[in-house]
Symmetry: C2
Subunit: 633 residues, 2 copies
């Protein structure tokens, strides 16, 4: 028998706070009451059927005036039903991964009726967040007590509450006991290899665990490149053939590591269940809007938005806008180089103290302009991507990342390209190379012995982790420095490795101590970053071949004909590119045992569908016979 | 209630002959009797449960001595159950495509208990062929009456019978009434657009219908290229910019048409049900061997063969062999060019009649050697691919095609590349261009009024259609001529279009009148040919850019620096390649409505799996309760 949400009525459960909602100071009682009612109300009445309590201070009194903090929790059965609705995938007792359903809960490994560890705390918080976000307006015209905040049927309440300033923030709570355990096995001991990825996943969710997994994998994969690069630097090897060997190794190696990562990633996310989790069948992200209708895939009522409109917005607005910004950025770079030339000219003519200060002005100006542009662009990119109205959070993220990435890539590397291929100034290129801005982090010491009230107040003040974007971007730019101009600067990989060893620790500290706990987000891969890294490795083939072709050592081999040299370089480049594509094609994206398990799942589900069809037909046949019988009588 | 094969016992059906088996003259009665028994025996006794009759001559007597011809048919229920076992997909009454099951037969569109048109004749023949091929040895040590033909458990009987010469051939019968109808709407009227693809599919199956669909689509897609190329030839436009525009159009156009074909193909095969047909879950192809075991995906007993062994065979034997052959072929080509140089030298020195004959000798020798090598290589490729032991027919075909394709590509185009880029003789290139060998076909006139006996005897003598390989290869080489050197020979596309208009008719005539009817083979795409055409279009970017760069008109624009010219050409080439990849990435492989339908199927089947799990859990719970109750009692 299926346990439905209505069966929850009879349950009385202990309250474990999972998520905190902070309301603004001036929120009216009417609004609070309405919000409470909607959160607590039964699912069938359009509520979230969660538990909702005000935060009590140390005297166990409701906090008044100062802190409008409320705790949201959920009963155990509610969480399990939420896990079913979200399609979480868990390992069943026969070793296969299956979508969790409450009705079959006993067939899952690690499930007991008195065991609270079956769902990780990160999963519980994700479920609560999802339920809150999917509280949607029914017949309300506006938020009660807040007439300017209009509503329409299907609008996500939480989103409107946040945009109208009634809700200040929603964040999940840290679990200090679990956090202490995680920290002990993670960054307090200095050993990269042994990052407890599975534990990180249990505490922070898959997206963050994948970032740390990728950081670790990428660093280890860079070690061979660092080791091979070292003697080139130490012994100043500059022979033609050694150059070529180093660059070729780099180019092939970067293809292989990216392909192997895909396999390792599939392995991990299969174990975590997110590889099989069908997020495209989920309810749409809260920011998604459209006319209410029936989803043709799932048959559920939800907002619908025609895909051709989205395509039009992407290709007719976003794409031209991005191109324009890229052009603008290049234009500003050219002005910067002109300015620098001019300053250098002035300084050479009349070398006073003032003119030597003038030498720094173009760089400073350029840095400021770029930073301002970066921020404006990011804001615009977020606006445009939201306006494109993607149904899935992953699609939204991928489109946003792609936009920001292209711009950042250009800002970081366009000047290097210009120096390398237009100015042909390899010395300057080597200097520019190691410029990198490192953000400093300031850890807030969390007091383990604090009361629950103090803990919530403390966490409320912590900064918000804005997602893995900046961390990936840093890695991506690093990969760019390592691969794009590797033959000019063979030490880049070694520095990257050293940097990443410390990066792991500082990032881990940041996650555990500096920021509010982020909501976990199930994901099955690193998404568009895989594409970004692969594209970078293709571009690096072109740049490395060009750099080798331009090096004086290689030019000395072809003293008489430069055209022959260019043709040979182009031929080699094409050969390497062809090899890259063949390699990428020949290495399967998923390990064989995962392929088999996916095929098995597909086979089983298609068989189950056949069975279901059969039963339906048999039932309708019986029905007809019964009717026929009646008529006969 | 599910109708099982045992229910067939009670059926008495009229016999419709579908497939003919020809036995050798000297086959013993014992062997015949055994074969008959195995074919007729019930499924549960390891038989095929088909109908099996000797061919009666015009006097309704069993043919003796001369013609060992037997007819195989199947009852209607047997065919439906076979369709279920093969996972044929049909349209259900609610408009969705579903795997056919006998239990739900009434929910499929066009199914009535007294309607024989539900399965096309091609499908019926495919089912019978599949059943015959999957008759496997049980405890027989050898074929009875044929002690040299050894058997082992799991070995396909039909395959052994064919290799040991007991069975000479197995072929499906033409249906002259349907064939006449098909012909009337196909090639007797001269109109390309209106090929009745759906009817062709009904009569010959999906693989052949897809070939004709592709031929039609490809020809239509070439028309714009032909039209644009025409004035270049007529007005001898040789300006630099016009050249570049023509080539750029060709390059982008060829990408777009291949992407659009993928979408159209998905559309067609969805309608035919083969896009959803899960052939990877089928029983292995008859040539597949291995130790008997349980397939981890389907749970059925079948031969298993570890995938790493296959990989080793591919990468350690097949790949080096192919490379060696390619090298050899190139080597022979170089000898040919040397020989030709030598002959030309002799003729120039002492220009007698004898030496002018000598001029033709190298070409003739080369043509003979290449033809011999081609045949030997094809034989070797078939042997190697069979030895690689692929489980699926499609994998076998793809690997075989890839091997033969690479070799043919080299043989056809290597000399052109040599002429274009080493000899730089554009005149010679233009001449070589239109060399093409056209096979002539001789139609056998089938007499419509012949008796059934005469018809079978006639068809038995017809040639065997060896699959679509040669037809696709012809198109592929044509595409090569059109795209690789399009800017040297702008008329290529026009000639290709004219050729293909006649090709449709001659190929159609070939299928209908020259060859035995081929067994239909369900397929969901043109397989590895898509990859081959796409690769060709990538290579053509490189060759066209190089040719434009080499043209005297373009060279005249850069009189001072050849290096600058090469760099600009390379830059343009990279830009076009990048654009190609972005286009291929941006155009979805399947139309949106097909994507939605596939997602819907996946969603439904996963939901059905959940339901099934729920029922299983509920049943096991009941079982436990029952047991508990007994113990209590």
């Amino acid at each position: 028998m299926k346990v439905t949400l209505s069966a929850l009525d009879t349950y009385e459960t202990s309250f474990t706070p999972l998520v905190v909602i902070e309301l603004a100071q001036d929120v009216k009682e009417e609004t609070k009451e309405w919000l409470r009612n909607r959160i607590v109300a039964k699912k069938k009445d359009g509520g979230a059927q969660l538990l909702f309590r005000p935060l009590l201070n140390k005297h166990e009194k409701e906090t008044l005036g100062n802190d409008n903090l409320y705790l949201v929790g959920a009963s155990r059965v509610r969480l399990l039903l939420g896990a079913e609705a979200l399609g979480l995938v868990k390992e069943s007792t026969d070793g296969t991964m299956r979508a969790f359903t409450h009705g079959t809960r006993h067939s899952f490994r690690g499930f007991h009726d008195d065991n609270d560890d079956f769902l990780t705390m990160a999963e519980c918080q994700f479920i609560v967040k999802h339920e809150l976000e999917n509280l949607r307006a029914r017949d309300e015209q506006m938020i009660p007590g807040c007439p300017q905040a209009k509503l329409y049927p299907g609008k996500s309440l939480l989103r409107r509450l946040l945009t109208s300033g009634v809700v200040l923030q929603v964040f999940p709570l840290h679990d200090h006991e679990a956090l202490k355990k995680l920290e002990d096995s993670w960054y307090t001991r200095f050993s990269l290899r042994c990052q407890p990825i599975d534990r990180i996943r249990g505490y922070f969710g898959e997206t963050i665990a994948l970032y740390f997994g990728f950081l670790e994998y990428f660093t280890l994969a860079l070690i061979p490149m660092a080791v091979i690069g070292l003697p080139y630097y130490l012994f100043v090897w500059e022979d033609y053939d050694k150059y070529v060997i180093f660059a070729s190794f780099n180019l092939i190696w970067s293809t292989v590591i990216l392909e192997v990562w895909k396999r390792g990633c599939a392995d991990m996310t299969y174990r975590w269940g997110t590889l099989l989790m069908k997020r495209q069948f989920e309810e749409p992200r809260p920011g998604f809007h459209g006319t209410l209708g029936i989803n043709p895939v799932t048959g559920r009522e939800e907002p619908l938005y025609p895909s051709y409109k989205r395509q039009l917005r992407i290709y007719l607005v976003s794409l031209p806008f991005v191109c324009l910004c890229l052009y603008l950025s290049l234009y500003i770079m050219m002005i910067y180089f002109d300015l620098e030339d001019w300053a250098l000219g002035v300084h050479d003519e009349s070398g006073t103290e003032w003119t030597s200060v003038l030498l720094y002005v173009p760089s400073i100006l350029y840095a400021i302009v770029i930073e301002v542009m970066n921020r404006l662009y990011r804001y615009a990119a977020e606006f445009l991507t939201a306006w494109e109205n993607h149904r899935l959070e992953s699609a939204y993220q991928n489109h946003l990342i792609l936009k920001v990435l292209v711009f950042n890539f250009l800002n970081c590397f366009a000047s290097l390209f210009y120096i390398a291929f237009v100015l042909k100034d390899m010395k300057l290129l080597g200097q520019k190379h190691s410029v990198k801005v490192k953000r400093k982090v300031q850890a807030l010491k969390v007091n383990i012995d604090a009361t629950f009230y103090e803990q919530v107040i403390l966490e409320k003040e912590m900064g918000t982790y804005l997602g893995t974007f900046d961390d990936y971007l840093e890695l991506f730019l690093q990969f760019g420095y390592v691969s794009l101009f590797s033959c000019v600067y063979p030490l880049a990989a070694a520095f990257a490795v050293i940097n990443n060893f410390t990066e792991v620790n500082s990032d881990a500290l940041k996650m555990c101590r500096v920021f509010k706990r982020p909501f976990s987000e199930p994901s099955s891969s690193i998404g568009v970053w895989q594409l970004a890294f692969e594209t970078m490795s293709v571009i690096s083939v072109v740049t490395n071949c060009a750099l080798i072709g331009m090096s004086p050592q290689v030019n000395a081999v072809f003293p008489e004909s430069k055209t022959d040299l260019v043709l040979i370089v182009v031929a080699v480049e094409h050969a390497i590119l062809a090899l890259k594509f063949i390699l990428a094609f020949a290495i399967p994206d998923k390990p064989r045992h995962i392929q088999m398990k996916l095929a098995r799942l597909e086979f089983e589900s298609l068989e189950a569908l056949k069975q279901q069809q059969m039963q339906l037909t048999a039932e309708s046949l019986k029905e007809e016979l019964r009717k026929g019988g009646k008529e006969m009588a």
